[in-house]
Symmetry: C2
Subunit: 207 residues, 2 copies
DNA sequence: TGTACATCAGTGAACGCGCGTTCACTGATGTAC
DNA sequence: TGTACATCAGTGAACGCGCGTTCACTGATGTAC
């Protein structure tokens, strides 16, 4: 039966949300359209009324998942200006590592995206650039803009790599997994502090 | 028919090699046992004479792929002692990024391994620890052993993240992808130089 | 060394299953008059 | 405002297909005598 415009929008949103979470948890190839539709309270036919293919849904789900994670990074500390350390503590936390379904879509899917079609890569790239901007805003305004961007690019990719490596080693060695998170937090903290003009780099004592 | 011991070992090796390459190129869920067997010059039944399941083959293929990549990192410069810069230039190169099938299995599969069973995670962890050791050997002997290990852990995860992020963005924005590699190479180079005792950190001019 | 035979890697047909996608149909919505 | 009807999101059966795995069988290898 036909359905109100409002309901249509709700259903589409439910499909995207369900897909985003399931793709993060089990990978794009690891979940079927039947399960996504079911979790959104619909049948698979409804999915094809909204999206031309599973791949199109994947692109939209990744875009949504990435925007949501980035929004959380910035909204979390409303009021005060977030520092790089704030972002590192949140992103490179064991909570984030252990929350595959609820966490950043880039960390959950980085190596998979390389094998997906262009539009999925576009969604990744947009989210990545956005996170680079968030990191860049926390760096002191020393050096040229190009240097700051370059540094932010590397820090962002390192954050993603830190979470991905911590997750990949978690089942085999929880201790190594924790160590990776701690080591990456400390390294990037130093790197960020370094960007500050002439400030004597403090010995980082964070656990 | 029965087959000589030598031939059995050859066939097993061919299966592992074919699986390792295909898994890197298309993901574990993206390739079937039929194609792996065919590429090894066998039928899928032969695969099950050697391995109890596709998953067991995946674990062995990852272990092999990781060991091979690490071997290449060290063997490449036989004779002289490799520096951190040598490793960074090789690992964070556009050639490595563009050679999904032939490159490092950890960069190709990092985010996928998180969803695989324990034995796959074990293979990742072994390879990761090995690469950490390779990196650690290039760092100056300043600071405590624990500090050097921590730094190597972070550098290794960052290298993997750099290649994974560069690959994920390559289809959408080749320029961004290149920038990520350059930025990560420069950042980690600085980080490595820093570890040297009291040496004034040189401005890094590598392209 | 020569012969008889047990072993077992490899073959290829077959298994049930879930995949992504299509399609005839339904019926409440939203529009035209 | 009330009525007639076109629209189209959603349903659920059906499609062909390739998946991972099993199994009866083959026949050269390697062993026991």
């Amino acid at each position: 039966m036909k359905v109100s415009k409002e309901k249509v929008a709700q259903n589409r949103e439910a499909l995207v949300q369900a897909a985003a979470r399931l793709f993060r948890e089990r990978g794009i190839d690891g979940v079927g359209v039947a399960e996504i539709s079911k979790q959104a309270g619909l049948t698979h036919g409804a999915l094809y009324a909204q999206f031309p293919s599973k791949e199109a849904l994947a692109a939209e789900a990744l875009a949504d998942g990435v925007a949501r994670a980035n929004g959380w990074m910035t909204a979390r500390l409303e009021g005060r200006e977030p520092t790089l350390t704030d972002h590192l503590d949140a992103y490179l936390s064991s909570q984030h590592r252990d929350d595959l379904g609820g966490g950043c879509a880039m960390a959950a899917s980085a190596s998979e995206v390389a094998r997906q079609p262009r539009d999925v890569s576009v969604a990744f790239t947009n989210g990545f650039s956005q996170l680079v901007g968030i990191i860049e805003r926390t760096l002191a305004k020393s050096g040229s803009a190009a240097e700051r961007r370059q540094r932010s690019l590397a820090i962002t990719a390192a954050m993603i790599g830190g979470v991905a490596a911590a997750r990949a080693s978690a089942k085999a060695s929880p201790a190594l997994s924790d160590d990776i998170l701690v080591a990456m937090r400390r390294l990037l903290d130093e790197v960020g502090a370094e960007a500050k003009p002439r400030a004597k780099r403090a010995r980082v004592t964070r656990r």
